[in-house]
Amino acid sequence: MVQVDAKILENRELGSQRYKMALSAPQIGCQAKPGQFIHVRVSKGFLPLLRRPFSVHRVQGQKIEILYKVVGKGTEILSRKKGGEYLDILGPLGKGYQLPSATSKISDIILVAGGTGVASLLFLAESISVANPELSILVLVGAKNREELLCEGDFRRLGCRVEVATENGTRGYKGLVSELLEKCLPLSGDRPKPIVFACGPSEMLKMIGKISRKHRFPCQVSLEERLACGVGACLGCVVKTKGSTYTYKRVCKDGPVFDAGELIWE
């Protein structure tokens, strides 16, 4: 974990209020693992006051990328930044996805992305395909409509199979990506169970959590909560997890990736 003033290399609009920003941050890039995030101070002043968290989307040599959607004042300010400006960032933060170990004999990998949830999953797909090229990866990408679909091509270039769901049916399966997951599951008895990694809106993750319980496959989900410190000090970002009764874990430090089975969904 380091704090750096990172130079913005590029901040490009992808359409539908989604942006991709590249930053020069080798000190972060060399440590970052899929599912980890950076905590960004979007303004030199104090408005907004708190930093904003974004998943590491990609690491390429000296540079790291984030992929974000403008949803409020912080991301709005971010979207107006230009190449050449500097951003104060903390990272890499949090506990990322547990990659399937290269030696263990394993099953299919399914990645389920909702909206900007693709951000961390592309990094994950890249890492898996480098570490374990023989693994087949199925990626389910969901969005409201075809305009909001992200990264399909990137996943295909990595050799992943990609299926698409849009809520309004303008591309691929019409409906929620969690429904698409249930359709795609290889449930025939003798195939080994898949490992599922999911990132997206909490409603989607909750549904996927249910499906994983029902079909008993291992499932890791990446959660979003409002963060303050981002480093585990303030206890502001907790989620309920199973314990003797229950216990709270910090999204920023113990997560953002959790085993679906350990969470208590409200």
Binding site: L50, L90, E225, L235, C237
Partner: protein, 314 residues
């Protein structure tokens, strides 16, 4: 500007309630965990002191989330004193500080006066520098509805009983949610406190109008950050006129200028809370900025400006 070689660097060291601090800049309880999380980012040894997250007798799970919401120049939190409890604190958190040369002030909270006394006695034997009684957490339910720090008698009682039980330097953290904070601070002084920490958070709330639901699961939370600074500063000023024990000024400090406002208003030391979340280097930047101000204004000793507000006669 060149400084002549013979000019001595300004003196930022202070004595606070018997504790020697390298400089008057501390980090506030609940915003710096137990030091571990920030140790990778901040040189802890440079800090004036660390006030640890409030601990209680038993471990506390804390409140249901959401616990944090941002407001205009402020943050509302309803952590609810989630903490590992005194035993785990002593066994697992305290050893971490052995490697560091920075005063550690431990913040404690109880539901009853007896709990405070018990906590204080348990800590008396440990390697800590001082104690802060948190009488002002807005996020837990109190038996008598009011917090200790909203009730002069209760404040007097708990402070004097803890005072009698221990010899450690003793601070008391007060609540701004009161009509007359100076009278509460006086109670602390009378009861034997070595200092008062001003202030804890203001009770506030925020509403999600689309869903007509509170933004915090607990409905209300504690407001911190630059928004509250003008009120915190006024309270320090009022208390400084009323008591002789030192004051730790807290509330919305983000810059050296903010810290100096508190010092000039009467605080002998200051603590950074929400600022740590904004930029973990704020405490260090504040220390450096105070030093620079002293050099520029030819102030040799920080103590010489504590409470030295020049008020025009009216």
């Amino acid at each position: 500007m060149m400084r002549k070689a013979k000019e001595k660097p300004p003196n930022l060291a202070i004595k606070l309630a018997g504790i020697s601090l390298k400089n008057p800049v501390m980090v506030a309880s609940g915003t710096f965990g137990y030091g571990e999380e920030y140790a990778q980012l901040v040189d802890l040894n440079r800090l004036g002191a660390i006030v640890a997250k409030t601990i209680t007798l038993k471990p506390r799970l804390g409140n249901d989330p959401p616990r944090i919401v941002e407001t205009a120049s402020g943050v509302l939190n309803s952590i609810g004193l989630q903490n590992v409890g005194i035993d785990t604190f002593i066994n697992e958190k305290l050893p971490f500080f052995k490697e560091y040369d920075v005063p550690l002030i431990v913040s404690i909270a109880g539901e009853t006066t007896d709990e405070y006394v018990q906590l204080a006695k348990t800590l008396q034997g440990e390697k800590i520098t001082g104690l802060e009684l948190n009488l002002s957490c807005p996020n837990i339910k109190y038996k008598r509805k009011l917090m200790f720090a909203q009730n002069p008698q209760a404040t007097h009682q708990v402070v004097s009983r803890v005072r009698k039980a221990i010899s450690l330097p003793l601070m008391v953290k007060l609540s701004p949610n009161v009509t007359d904070i100076a009278s509460i601070a006086k109670m602390c002084e009378e009861a034997g406190a070595d200092g008062v920490s001003l202030i804890n958070t203001f009770t506030g709330m925020a509403i999600d109008v689309e869903n007509r639901k509170p933004m915090l699961r607990q409905v209300t939370g504690g407001l911190s950050g630059p928004a509250i600074k003008p009120i915190a500063l006024r309270m320090v000023y009022e208390v400084h006129k009323a008591v002789r024990i030192p004051i730790i000024g807290i509330g919305g400090i983000m810059t050296a200028g903010d810290a100096l406002e508190f010092i000039i208003a009467g605080a002998k030391a200051v603590a950074i809370g929400t600022g740590n979340f904004v930029d973990p280097l704020i405490p260090i930047k504040v220390i450096d900025g105070i030093r620079e101000y002293m050099v520029n204004n030819k102030i040799k000793d920080i103590k010489s400006i504590v409470g030295r507000l020049k008020c025009p006669k009216s």
